[in-house]
Amino acid sequence: SAVISQKPSRDICQRGTSLTIQCQVDSQVTMMFWYRQQPGQSLTLIATANQGSEATYESGFVIDKFPISRPNLTFSTLTVSNMSPEDSSIYLCSASGALETQYFGPGTRLLVL
C-alpha cells in the first residue's frame, strides 16, 4: 500500500490567481494521477502525471490551465492557474503501482472567490 499526503488541505483564493497543490507518496510508485471532485459528483480524471515527461491530459483539461510536474517517483504538483469560481472543487491526487489499485490522498478543498 501507499500513503499519500497533500498540501494544502484547503485554501480560499481570489479570482485570477494560481494555486499549486503538492502530492507526496511514501514509496516509489509507477503512476500518479490528479482528479477533480465537485460536491456530490464523481471523480473526474484531470491528467496522468508522468515522471520526467509532460503529463497526459484528459479531454477538457489543458496544460496551460492545469500545469503538472512530476520530478521523481514520489512527488507531483498540480497548479490551478488563473482561477475562476468554477474551479472551486476538491482536487485529489492518487498513486498506483498498477491500475488495479489506486491510493488516494485526502484531497485539497479549493474555494475561489
Binding site: 459528483q41 471523480l43 496522468t48 484528459e58 492518487s94 488495479e100 489506486q102 488516494f104 490522498g105 485526502p106
Partner: protein, 114 residues
Amino acid sequence: SQKIEQNSEALNIQEGKTATLTCNYTNYSPAYLQWYRQDPGRGPVFLLLIRENEKEKRKERLKVTFDTTLKQSLFHITASQPADSATYLCALLAGSGGYQKVTFGTGTKLQVIP
C-alpha cells in the same frame, strides 16, 4: 455515450441487514471493475476488484458480482454496521488504442441505521 450509473439516492438500511448497491455501465468493455469507499472529507479507499472473467469476489463481509452480459456489478455488505455508512464508488478500467484509464461512477451514499 459512455456512462457509469449508480443509484444517486441514498440507501438507508437497518443495522444487521445486507446492503446491496448497484453499478450499471453502458458502452464500456471493462477489463475489471473496482469498488471504493469514500468518507466525508477524505479520499476514496480501495475495497475490491473483480475481473471481467470473474463472477463473484468476496472479502470478509463484502461481496461483489460482475455480470458482463447485463453490464452490471452488485456490491453487497452483509451484517451491516453503522460504521459501514459512507459513499461507495464503483470504477472501471477500460480504454482503446493501448490507452486505458479508470473511470468512476457517481457513488451511492449508504446510511446504516442502528
